[in-house]
Amino acid sequence: MRARDTDWDGVRLHVVTGKGGTGKTTVAAALALALAAGGRKVLLVEVEGRQGISRVFDLPPLPYEERKIAVAPGGGDVYALAVDAEEAMLEYLEMFYGMRRAGRALSKIGIVDFATTIAPGFRDVLVTGKTSEAVRRKGKDGKRVYDAVVLDAPPTGRIARFLNVTNEVAGLARVGPIKNHADLVNGVVSSPETAVHFVTLLEEMPVQETLDGLRELRAAGLPPGGIFVNMVRESLLPASVLEAAAEDRLDPTELVLGLKAAGLTDGGSGAVAVAEALTEEIAEHARRTELERHERRALDKAARPRYDLPLLADGVDLSGLYELAESIRTQGAA
């Protein structure tokens, strides 16, 4: 496959994280579509058992199985996989130890429950392990099966810990098979073939969490990716108008004239009332915009590549997803 000139050439594992409510799953899905565009094969993985992927693609719940869910613009396939930690563990036991029957027995007495819910380190090793396996998997031709894997990862607050599996299990297993497996996973997630992207909104808390998350990643030696600023509302108003509006100095006279010219008079005095209400609306909008500008400056400090994704007025549906994918491509993120 011919390499495209993008910001993330050479990256095979795209980890997408973000604070709750920022649209992490949506962005991961759009990124997968964008990466697949032009005839490539991409796997989109979710690990939190939320069935978020099936929701954004409007599909019935996904099984623990890689299946094709979408075709990208210009050809190219997106596969999806909902990793179930318990299934991953049984698969792992069978694959590495040939323990099929024992696996079932373990499952019955609750050891799988234990490993997947009580000891979070194990759970994370299992799901990142499955993801790493997909990244490294090769076909009969010796080439990688997937050109890229996109991981819809846990939220920002947990991301460094989630990916830093070696550290997580270190307290529990200093030697032995789990430790070995964790080291293997670590080799994949901390390599230059991986990038951890953050999804944020231009609001104080998500921005703060993004900056904190990036710091934690660096401290853990994990490779930071880009910042996707989601749900951006473009302002159509000139800066001077916004500035005046934010300080409640905007004179509605010009608006009254404009509304009258457009025939929105609503019987005589209507235009004035509408103009005043609109002025109030613009003032709110201007204050919001100012706040957003402030958050952008805060993000500047991170010095990471940044991509703006528009707010989809009709909510996220399939066509919206393709729109976001297109936007991701034109900005060079894929």
Binding site: L106, I109, T117, I118, G171, G258, A261, L264, V274
Partner: protein
């Protein structure tokens, strides 16, 4: 579309019989801010309230004039009126350690506290936070120092985790696995394995192969030490459960007018009903409204197009476009809300408009409180 009943939060926080308010909902919908605002409002209306948060957002601590929140309730200064407000943030490891220290002799406590499994369980098990939140809630309630406790639930991947986690932890600690792992310790060695059928041999072998002998040993030590301390963890979980079912508890489900958050709210409302937990209603946060709603989005767009085609009044057409976008957003949010309302027509609803500024101080929290209570 039927209009849902209004969620009268003032009536709830003013009622002296209301002793616990639980704010729940999916992540990123403003649960913590809602809890803090309700706490302040209750205090300023004369209650003696404490807010228990699990969200380590420093900004919220600062908005209440506290540099840092910790595991002990701290007084919030600047509360107007007769009431008072305390705030605390759950430190789950500290809370768990305290339970161990309170229930075990020093030697046993030390054994547990230094065990790697305990350390993992107490600091990172996704259910521990929920369980410890319940535990803390129970402690605060029993202390009877406050007449109103407001708690927000942990930012779990799903709002339902809050209800399931204590049960899961209880199931694990009382479960088959524990008993199996304890056997060698109890019966003094491998001979105990013989009591089991052949299946167990496979299990023990598999465990050793999978975990390594050291891990298995740590796990056994941990389990037997913990078991001796708790006797019946599940009984404890049941107790906290009953506390939540009792009259005097009010669940407030918080959502934003987005599809996922509303869906999550729906699940939660159904689940609360199943568990017979007292639901007060739904708070829809960050609702976009327009002060110029007399002008519809469609008319606005048409007028903007008209002006643009004539090349006149550039500013007005930009403003009209902006307004149309706002109306479109409001309409979408209303649709998401309607999904919920048609499925749960009797659930009271309160709406909080999106604010153009973030909350930074008590004044901001007060404003959110006002908005919560406005019909």
């Amino acid at each position: 579309m039927k209009k849902p009943p209004f969620l009268d939060l003032d009536a709830i926080i003013d009622d002296p019989d209301t002793r616990i308010v639980v704010c729940c909902g999916s992540g990123g919908v403003g649960k913590t801010t809602t809890a803090a605002a309700l706490g302040l409002r209750a205090a300023e209306r004369g209650r003696s309230a404490v807010v228990l948060t699990v969200d380590p957002a420093r900004r919220l601590a600062q908005s209440m004039g506290l540099t840092e929140l910790d595991n002990t309730p701290r007084p919030v200064m600047g509360v107007e009126g007769e009431g008072r407000l305390h705030a605390m943030m759950l430190d789950m490891k500290r809370t768990f350690d305290e339970i161990i220290e309170a229930h075990a002799d020093p030697e046993r406590a030390r054994q547990i506290l230094t065990n790697p499994f305990y350390q993992s369980l107490s600091s990172s098990f996704s259910g521990t936070q929920e369980y410890m939140a319940m535990e803390k809630l129970g402690q605060l309630r029993r202390s009877d120092e406050w007449d109103l406790i407001i708690v927000d639930t942990p930012p779990s991947r799903s709002a339902l985790d809050f209800l399931d986690a204590p049960e899961r932890l209880g199931r694990f600690l009382d479960g088959k696995l524990i008993r199996v792992l304890m056997l060698p310790a109890k019966a003094g060695g491998r001979s105990a394995f013989k009591l089991f059928n052949a299946g167990f041999g496979i299990v023990a072998g598999a465990l050793t192969k999978l975990l390594g002998a050291q891990v298995l040993k740590d796990l056994q030590t941990f389990v037997s030490a913990l078991d001796a301390v708790f006797g019946g963890f599940r009984a404890r979980a049941d107790q906290t459960y009953r506390l939540l079912q009792a009259p005097g508890t009010a669940f407030v489900v918080v959502a934003s007018p987005e599809r996922d958050a509303m869906r999550e709210a729906s699940y939660f409302v159904e689940r609360l009903a199943e568990e017979r937990m007292p639901l007060a209603g739904l708070v829809v946060n960050r609702v976009h409204r327009s002060p110029a709603s007399m002008l519809s989005g469609a008319r606005s767009t048409a007028a903007a197009e008209d002006l643009e085609s004539r090349g006149e009044h550039e500013l007005t057409s930009a403003v009209l476009r902006l307004h149309a976008g706002r109306m479109q957003l409001a309409a979408r949010e209303r649709r998401e809300e309607e999904h919920f309302i048609s499925a749960h027509p009797t659930v009271p609803v309160a709406r909080v408009p999106a604010m153009s500024q973030d909350v930074h101080d008590l004044e901001g929290l007060r404003e959110v409180g006002d908005l919560l209570a406005t019909r």
